[in-house]
Every structure is written in C-alpha cells, then in structure tokens.
Symmetry: C2
Subunit: 252 residues, 2 copies
C-alpha cells in the first residue's frame, strides 16, 4: 500500500496521527498540525499524511504500525494523560509488540512535583512503551517519549508547542523547504494557462493556487515551494513576468 520513501536525495518524510474524540466531534479545533507542519518544513522534512482517529487502542495500534513503517518519522498527538480516555501509550506499545512499563525517571519527577499530593492517577503519566527513550534538551526537562521512529506528543497545544525544540534537536536540520508567494486579483480560471506554463517549465518547483473569497486586496494567492531556493525564486519571477499590466498585487 504505502511505500517507505527513503532515498539519498529526496526529502525525509513524516506522518502525523492525531488522536481524540473531541476533534472528531467538533468540540475542539485541532491546533498542533500547523505547528508541527511548519517545524518540519524548516527541518527539510515532507509531511505527507495526517490521520485523525477516535480514542480506541486497536485503531491507534493499527495506524501507528502502518504510518511508522511508511515514513521516516511519525508524530502522534493526544491521548497521553492519566484518564480512561488516554489510550495512546497502550496503542503505541501494541503497535510495536511491547508492553507498557512505568518509567523510573518520570516516576521520580512526578514524585518530586506532586509530593504528598501524588495519587495513582498522577503516576499513570509515567507509563511508557517498553524500549522507549526519554528525549530532553537542557531547557526542556520534562521528557518526550520516542520509540523507534515514533514521537509520542501531548495533545494540549501549549505543551505540544513546548516540545517542538526537542524534536528539532534530535531530528536535525537538512536543506529546508522554502516558500514564496504572489498575490493577484485574477481568478483561477484566467490564471490557469499562466500556471500551466510555469508548472511545465519548472518541474522541480511545486506551484499552488489558492482562491480567497473575503479579502479585498487579492483574489488568488500563488505559492512556489521547493528545497532549491534559487530555482524556486526563478520560477516565481518567471510567473510574475507573464502577468498582465497592473498585476501582481504583492510578491513575497
């Protein structure tokens, strides 16, 4: 089904598994995807696929198995708290055929934090899949769980965001993706032949076209993306040169 894409010159690939009934019922908006996506672009990693599922151990296990096998990195988001609906640790462990154990390091940290207020509930936050490593940086001491190529991230956006530097330190930066944009008042129907021209002339550049309905300043945003900065800029400028007088409205 999905081929693992690892090659020397293609970008590294990633997938994200988002877990939580609250997202699939529309009670809460998903906020971690844009944060992860932008971070991965800067690292030169192509995020190819996001899957969102309910709080169900077997579903999570099946997805983790498939997504981690098909990508260089997998990031899960959500389901790592202490309550009955937090089943991600169990799902990830099942995906890799290991059991769930209490991390001595995290248990000690929880004991130090909660002191005499510590409950069995709090201690559930020390559970990890056997064989996972606990990733930290000098600044971010509370560990992030990594097992094989799978990062187990919390769903709470403030905490998810805090852990991004840990990922960036471990995963490492290679040639990042760059992105430029052109804004015009033309509609997509009129732009199509011009876009077809630049797409044909620059196969190494990814060209996107996004109509905007509610902005008086422009009608369509064109994006030019890739990992070869000079080539992407040449594609953008070649496109701009084909626009009629009075266009574009703006170039980024």
């Amino acid at each position: 089904m999905l081929e693992r894409m690892v090659s020397s010159d293609g970008p590294r690939t990633a997938a994200m598994l988002v877990i939580g009934n609250e997202l699939l019922t529309g009670k809460v908006g998903e906020a971690n995807l844009p944060v992860l996506a932008r971070s991965l672009r800067g690292l030169g990693i192509l995020l190819r696929r996001v899957v969102m599922v309910l709080d169900d151990v077997e579903t999570i296990a099946r997805e983790v198995r498939a997504l981690s096998a098909a990508h260089d990195w997998l990031f899960t988001s959500g389901g790592v708290g202490p309550t009955h609906d937090d089943v991600t640790i169990e799902g990830v462990a099942r995906a890799f055929g290991v059991d769930v154990v209490a991390s001595r390091e995290m248990t000690a940290m929880l004991e130090a934090h909660y002191k005499e207020r510590l409950t069995e509930g709090h201690l559930r936050m020390a559970r990890i899949p056997r064989g996972a490593t606990l990733e930290t940086t000098a600044e971010i001491r509370w560990p992030t769980i990594l097992i094989r190529n799978t990062w187990v991230m919390p769903g709470v956006p403030e905490v998810f965001l805090m852990k991004i530097p840990v990922i960036e330190a471990k995963v490492g930066r290679r040639e990042p993706f760059v992105s430029y944009a052109v804004y015009t008042r033309m509609d997509e129907g009129d732009l199509k032949p011009l876009l077809d021209g630049v797409v044909a002339a620059f196969p190494g550049v990814e060209v996107g076209s996004y109509p905007k309905w509610s902005d008086p300043a422009y009608r369509t945003k064109l994006t030019f993306d890739g990992r070869d900065d000079r080539l992407v800029l040449r594609a953008r400028d070649a496109f701009v040169a084909t626009l009629p007088p009075g266009e574009p409205q703006r170039v980024d």
Copy 2:
C-alpha cells in the same frame, strides 16, 4: 482492515478526506472539519476518521476507495478548482473506476455566469466523475457533487459552509448526539477514580476529560456524550454528585 459499520441500532458512520498541500505544509489552517463534525453530530452520524493527504491523484483514489467502502458516508474537502493542483475530481473518478465528464448543467451555469469572460479554465469547474449526481436545495443552486456515498466538497471554507444544508437535506436527521459538560478546578490525576466510577456505571455514555492550561476559571473539562439524552444527563449528574465541596465550577 476497516470493517464497514452498518447496523440497525448503531449510528451511521462517516469519514472525511481532506486534500491539499497547503494544509500539510502549515500555510493554511484546516477549517472545514469542525463545521462538518458538528453538522454530522446533529444528524446522528459518527465521524470516525479523518485523513489528510497531498494533491496527488493516485493517493486520493486509494483513500476514496478505502474510506468510502468502510463508512456509510465519505466527505472530501478541497482540490476542486480549475488549476493544475486541483486533482480531486480525477482521484474520485479513478477510485470508482469511471471517467471524468463535463456536466451539461454546470457548463450552462458557468456560461451564464461568466458570459463573454468565460475561459477554458472556468469550464474545468464543470468536470464531474461520470455517474455523479448534482445535489441542490431550493436555496443553494450551485450543485454539490455526490457519487455513490461520496460527497465532493470544496476546500474554501466559505463555500464548504454554504453547502452544509445540502448535505443535511439529503442525508437526513436521525437520533442526534447530545453532549453535556462539567468544569472543575481538579486535575486529571485527582479526577481519575471519580471518572472510572462513572465510566463503569454508564457504559452507554462516552466520557471525555480535557485539561485546560490557560483558563483561570477551570482546570479540567469533563464531557458526557451519547444519543440517549436522559441516560447522558443521568451520567453527568451522577458524576457531579461524587465531586468534593466547592466543585464543580460550572455545568452545561
């Protein structure tokens, strides 16, 4: 892999396929999922799975095939404009083994709208998978594409939202999901035994627990969901009765 869940008393199920490089690169935030999710809850349909992929015909075809077979309804979002990166119509057609044809009805509407400004580019918006029906209501005249159990929806949030009533009219309302909430200053670790109690006593009610980091008014939000309104209310009230003095902060 995925079992089709259709039974007389279980809820109808749905999946969503979100298409667009701009979402997986973090340039644009996804805005249609919460709109669809809330609408489906009101119709009594369980949204079980969301998949987000890049603008790639073969990937879209594979996902549409799998998701439409495993759920009662599938909703795609994005990739239906006239430019080179709009490949959803092609992907959906390939999924169902049909070709792409120009809809006479949509062609006529585009001709009437653009008049002498009409271009080949505009006419691409009349392309549909062969065998698709064009769904409308008295109020919403621009058609929404439906093929078998798959709705092909636009990605632009303003237009996606406009089309929701067409879905609601066609899909029909059954016993809706209801949701109640309780807000408390307790943390999840302390709440765990109380939550385990209500989860065990009310197997028909789905109980969720969501920590909030930045709200001074409460620390954890508990949700009680299901399709049996009286049972869900009983579960919520049974839980509230187990809280210590001074709690809850609020009940919805």
